[in-house]
Amino acid sequence: MVPLSWYLALAAALFCVGLYGVLARKNAVAILMSIELMLNAVNINLVAFWHYLTPQVPSGQMFTIIVLTVAAAEAAVGLALIISIYRRRSTVVAEEIDLMKW
């Protein structure tokens, strides 16, 4: 069988890739995609812990579904914000969205 540590390492790697994307990408939509990657990494962790440690209790799967819900809500609101900003200012570059300095 696959050891638990493999899943955890993969999740950590995926999380860090997502983190790099969030910090380094200029495009706001790309940043949002990187956040989705990070959420997926978290989900891998939750399901892996559920499978290996507490398979009798549905908590791990429960939280995964809650994370999915939050991810969906976040994507919906985030993309709506980006589209709205694009329509007002014709840009989706995160650095140029500096309304506070306007």
Binding site: L68, T69, A72, A73, A75, A76, L79, I83, R87
Partner: protein, 119 residues
């Protein structure tokens, strides 16, 4: 349980090979290859293409996607509930009805706000 999913995995693989073979057969072996720039240009009923392919689309399309995502997530919650339906009591069913009604409120809001109109 893994056995069933192995079947699905192999099926998806085979589902890619089956249509892939005739496509490759046609494009690599059987079909003629006499390309020219005019033949390869985008088809617009014989008229030359003007401007960019990326015409601007309405934000209206996005709103429908948005409402869909919300209802998609809602239904995902209801599927395990449906499977456990024999165990749940009547008051738990009422809880689910409240859950559905809260989201129906969202639909009503979108409707009243005019977000569901195609303008």
């Amino acid at each position: 349980m893994l056995n069933e999913w192995t079947f699905i995995g192999l099926f998806l693989l085979m589902g890619a090979i089956f249509p892939g073979v005739p496509i490759l057969l046609q494009s690599l072996v059987l079909g003629p290859k006499k390309n020219n720039p005019v033949k390869n240009s985008p088809y617009e009923c014989g008229i030359e293409t003007v401007g960019d392919t990326w015409v601007q689309f309405k934000v209206q399309y996005y709103i429908f996607g948005l409402v869909f995502v919300v209802f998609d997530v809602e239904t995902i919650f209801l599927f395990p509930f449906a499977v456990a339906f024999d165990q749940v009591r009547l008051f738990m069913v009422v809880e689910v009805v409240i859950f559905i009604l809260i989201l129906a409120g969202g639909l009503v809001y979108a409707w009243r706000k005019g977000a569901l109109e195609w303008v």
